[in-house]
Symmetry: C2
Subunit: 267 residues, 2 copies
């Protein structure tokens, strides 16, 4: 940590960091960006495998950042100080907090999940907006789900906006990425009831039981669920709506469904 | 509509439109921006008072945009064509649809609201993120609320990101902006039960009745509710959470509460 800070915006490491905002570069390097004190603390708590940490003391908001940087170094990250302009260039937040790290992507294969007894699962299909996916992870974590299964991914969970909106839930929550047909097969094999949301259903979402091994299945913002899920689910339900709004934000819909399950399972 | 398109990015009207992204300029002019085919159609349906419409045919996504522009002109808007670069400069969306209008802000005074019998209300206090406020309006509309009351506003409902996230619900939903103490006084005067959310409550949100004249009260993302609301509400409840996530996105929390009320009131 005694080297000169990186101040040139043309420095190759700065350019590499900016490139990690692109899916292709994340997929190639199998790494991703984590920014912010709270997020990095939770990532460290969750045992993530860090490769690098970048810090810019002029931007620190509190007094605990140096200890966090030391902690990431002790976990194996190489450290480099950035000038504040260089940090602002690599930061994707409006108000950068002066700490950013690169971590290796973790294993998201379906066969890695252990679901336990009577699981509550969230299954999402083809979510388009990274922020929505992150908010869904945060919401699923708060609802105490056993795992989230991302089917036919459009946005990847390692997108910086997903990381940010999940506020650390991405790191602690069991997460699998798979194809819709494999997820349907697994739910059937494990005897997990699947409850899919569709505006065409006659059943209100509270009219089915979630007090069992159950997966709540939410489709994409624009298209809703695929016909594979709509025909392959145990039940389809709709969230009853009034007014001129004919739909809910996908993360709000997930929250409404998940907390109806929490309500039914609380006894 | 026979004038030359505006192509200069230095044109004063272009600069005025960009300035309407700022709260100060909206407050001074008492106008705001509405962008997009669906949003403008809903704004026209709701009877908004348009001053200007800007269109850029090269950016149209469908075939119905010319009819929409004609409709806004018939409602009193002056029309001007923009070159596509000029339109992209004034657009705040990633994928502009070639239609944008300026409308006069509508009346949001509290005494204008008529609540009817046994209303369900959403009250929000000091929401910071425009997108969250817009998503809350969309969610409240879908839940069939009688009105939304915005207390001690931090972000204003005429922010372009609020307009966008509300997907038109801003125009159709009765909306009042007021101070917290006035909202508390009005709820008391009208005999409306107020249910405030607080992580410190011992009651789960489903353990109180919403099957009456009731207002659900949601606080800001960072601070939660003020002590005025926490001590001035009929009930405080918490949404029970597990996992490492210790909070929900404010719009998700509003959705969970509102649809518990919808569930209880459906009979």
């Amino acid at each position: 940590m005694s080297m000169e800070p990186i101040t040139s915006l043309q420095n190759p490491r700065i350019k590499d960091l900016v490139r990690l905002r692109n899916r292709r570069d994340r997929d190639q390097s199998k790494t991703f960006l984590i920014e912010g004190f709270r997020e990095l603390s939770r990532a460290a708590d969750a045992g993530l495998d860090f490769t690098d940490v970048y810090y810019s003391p002029d931007l620190y908001l509190g007094e605990n950042e140096p200890a966090l940087v030391e902690r990431l170094i002790s976990l194996g990250a190489r450290a480099a100080e950035l000038g504040d302009d260089a940090f602002r260039k690599v930061a994707y937040r409006d108000r950068p907090e002066g700490v950013l790290a690169v971590a290796n992507q973790f294993d998201t294969s379906l066969d890695r999940l252990t679901l336990g007894d009577r699981p509550l699962l969230l299954v999402v299909e083809s979510i388009e907006k990274p922020g929505n996916l992150g908010t869904m992870l945060r919401t699923a974590d708060a609802a105490g789900v056993s795992a989230v299964i991302v089917c036919d991914q459009t946005t990847d969970p390692f997108n910086p906006n997903t990381v940010r909106a999940s506020i650390g839930s991405l790191f602690s929550l069991p997460l699998a990425i798979t194809a819709t047909r494999q997820a349907i097969a697994l739910m059937s094999e494990l005897g997990v009831k699947t409850v899919a949301t569709s505006p065409d259903s006659d059943l209100a979402h509270w009219q089915v039981s979630y007090d069992c091994a159950v997966a709540i299945v939410i489709g994409s913002e624009q298209q809703g669920l695929s016909s594979a899920w709509l025909s392959g689910s145990t039940e389809t339900v709709r969230i009853p709506m009034s007014g001129t709004a004919d739909s809910l934000n996908a993360a709000v819909a997930a929250g409404v469904m998940l907390f109806e399950a929490v309500r039914q399972r609380a006894h």
